[in-house]
Symmetry: C2
Subunit: 414 residues, 2 copies
Amino acid sequence: MTRLGGTNLPRVGGYNQAVVLDAIRTRGAVSRVELAALTGLTNQTVSNVVRKLLDAGLVTETGHAPSSGGKRRTLLSPRPDGAYAVGVHLDPDSAVIVLVNLAGEVIVSRRLRLTAPDVPADVVDRVSRAVQRLIVRSAVDPARLLGLGIAAPGPIDGSSGCVVRPPNLPGWDRVPLVEMFAKATGLPVALDNDATAAAIGERWIGGEARAGSFLFIYLGTGIGAGIVLNNTVLHGDSGNAGEFGHMPVEPGDRVCHCGATDCLGPYCSPAAIIDDLLRRYGPVAADRIGVTGAAASLHDDWKALRRAARAGDPDAEDVVRRAARLIAQATRGAASLLDVGRVVLGGEALRGIEPILLEEIDSAVNRTSVARSIRPVVIEQSVIGDTVGAIGAASLVLHGNYAPGWRMLTDGAG
Amino acid sequence: MTRLGGTNLPRVGGYNQAVVLDAIRTRGAVSRVELAALTGLTNQTVSNVVRKLLDAGLVTETGHAPSSGGKRRTLLSPRPDGAYAVGVHLDPDSAVIVLVNLAGEVIVSRRLRLTAPDVPADVVDRVSRAVQRLIVRSAVDPARLLGLGIAAPGPIDGSSGCVVRPPNLPGWDRVPLVEMFAKATGLPVALDNDATAAAIGERWIGGEARAGSFLFIYLGTGIGAGIVLNNTVLHGDSGNAGEFGHMPVEPGDRVCHCGATDCLGPYCSPAAIIDDLLRRYGPVAADRIGVTGAAASLHDDWKALRRAARAGDPDAEDVVRRAARLIAQATRGAASLLDVGRVVLGGEALRGIEPILLEEIDSAVNRTSVARSIRPVVIEQSVIGDTVGAIGAASLVLHGNYAPGWRMLTDGAG
DNA sequence: TTGACTTAATCCATCCATTGGATTTAGCTG
DNA sequence: CAGCTAAATCCAATGGATGGATTAAGTCAA
């Protein structure tokens, strides 16, 4: 979409509807007059738009605000049961499936264990059947189920709906996930990389706290970033914006699969940090902490290492902190390049070591006195937590349907 | 603007007008039917919009396309004399002023020499008077002169129209340039940092070659980047997106004013590269190349060094190449983070050494086989050349008035 | 209790850019 | 010159936003 398209009246209608819904969602209980002030629309227009949203079952009237001298304002709130979406977070070792409502609340969820050499077709098949069962179990109105969102490790090809040889999913080369899941479930399918999906989830659920612009740093099996600028998600020319693993950092002796030794990626995965512990502090420390170093026990090793770091074990903390510094270094570059006032951290690999990351990133990003004085950058944790990947995946669908944006005015989508 | 605003019919009209004008500008001679296809608007709508643009004097009918069996298409082209803008590029040692037409062609230009300790008020005064004289001399219709654009070294405060203590303009702390120039010239004034202005100029003038997304690396007194995503300029939360000097690179012994030793900025200014030459290769090489090392002769030293590097002097080329590698390293990170398919180089400090920069950046950015296979990044020079700063400044005004974008549908601006 | 006042929300006629279908304009071809 | 094709325009209709008037529902003071 190299060219900008024109727009027309019906699209304006749809767009304004989305704007009003978005305002209601982010502000919670809010009256029509406030919405008019927030959106710049007329009271009359807001009234009309709200009526449509009420008819569509997406919002409800919930009580009244205390009077300020005249008629009380009737407050509007989103209707959680107005719409539903399914989210799937694909990871090398597991698939997390959630069914969420319009408010982003999880109705039912399920985790499937996967084993590394699984064939894509089998995984899609297993996951799809689990999705179907979840839908039946939840008993949601099928008409209100908008679709299925998938968060996969990048890179992906946005135009064809494929994952493109993800380093963390060996053997998955150009797998057309969108097509496969659409056929298997009969639902509309959206695909994005895990970090971007997480950022969209954060934007969708975070309300005021995630309005405007922010950079989401996602720490899962690998590291990635999701970029939200002016309430709009940056996808990039090929659908891979936020690729964080190739950000330059202080070079060491780890070689990225691209051949460089100064890429962030190879230094900050759980596997790399565990390896770092073994190399720096040897088997004694590893034993003490509970790290075996076997490839098969990566998950448990990482858990043990995180726990030790959190508990103050100096060796564990040291290796975590070294990785954190590199992440912080890259984050500093990204934040100043994008000029975002907020950085959000999330991802399941982060559990327990958030304070270390927050501290290092804060000190790197807010180091310059200039930055501090003009606009200190806020560093925060995800408002969603561990399941940000799966919930983010579901949010892809909600966001695609209801978040106001360019595409509503230019493309046909609504 | 943390919230998304609604829109309405008149705005849609203005926006579509801008879309059509933009399409005519970027495509050159184009017919109404083609415009309809390009913009997604109806033939009828395009007809109406074009009539308005004709009445406004912004486009003209220029001949016909050969018939393809029916009535010939009448071709539309932008009218260069439809609008004018003045651009001022402020630099520590000079101010370049240009008056350009709608096509971005320079009508008249002038360069004022400045001396370092100049007081802001005096500079504004001198420049403003020069602008006035230029306007008179050019004899353009004042009604068609849209305003004055200023490109200044960052950082700036976008909301108040100030420059905020730019490292390259000592003593200029929170100078309200917009206000001062508006008062002195009576023109509407737009301010942006030099790199962003250059990117906007590139976008405005570059036509198809600069449609979509690109990262503009600007090398002047300092280094900066301008970011264009989906034909839209990224300004950032505080108006300082593209701050490139704090991108992390391989650390050395140069300390950034923010305290870090791994910031790109201090390693790649002309002054730093000259210093590097002296430190690495001593007075003999400096003499041979024609570099004195005196602060006062920075301009000439840099010229000599560039010429020597271009001519193949190994020492000169080495120091330039070292800086180029660091720039390339940072560019690799930025390009992968933003997922842009194009990187553009420009700025007056670049003259003569473009090939070295292009080569180093290309090899760094396109190193990964993955990146190469999915989407090799195109690395190019500015289509404008040396004066990209000043022309970019003027483009701020043209862009602000006529480039289609969000703001037309949400804010009041047109 | 009542009447004056205030604010929220809606009703209604109007506006206006886009749309789709019909029409005109202007070329080509046999 | 008639028949065909494509470009561009005319015209009535559509539909979402608008502004002013109206109704609904509260507060406050006498």
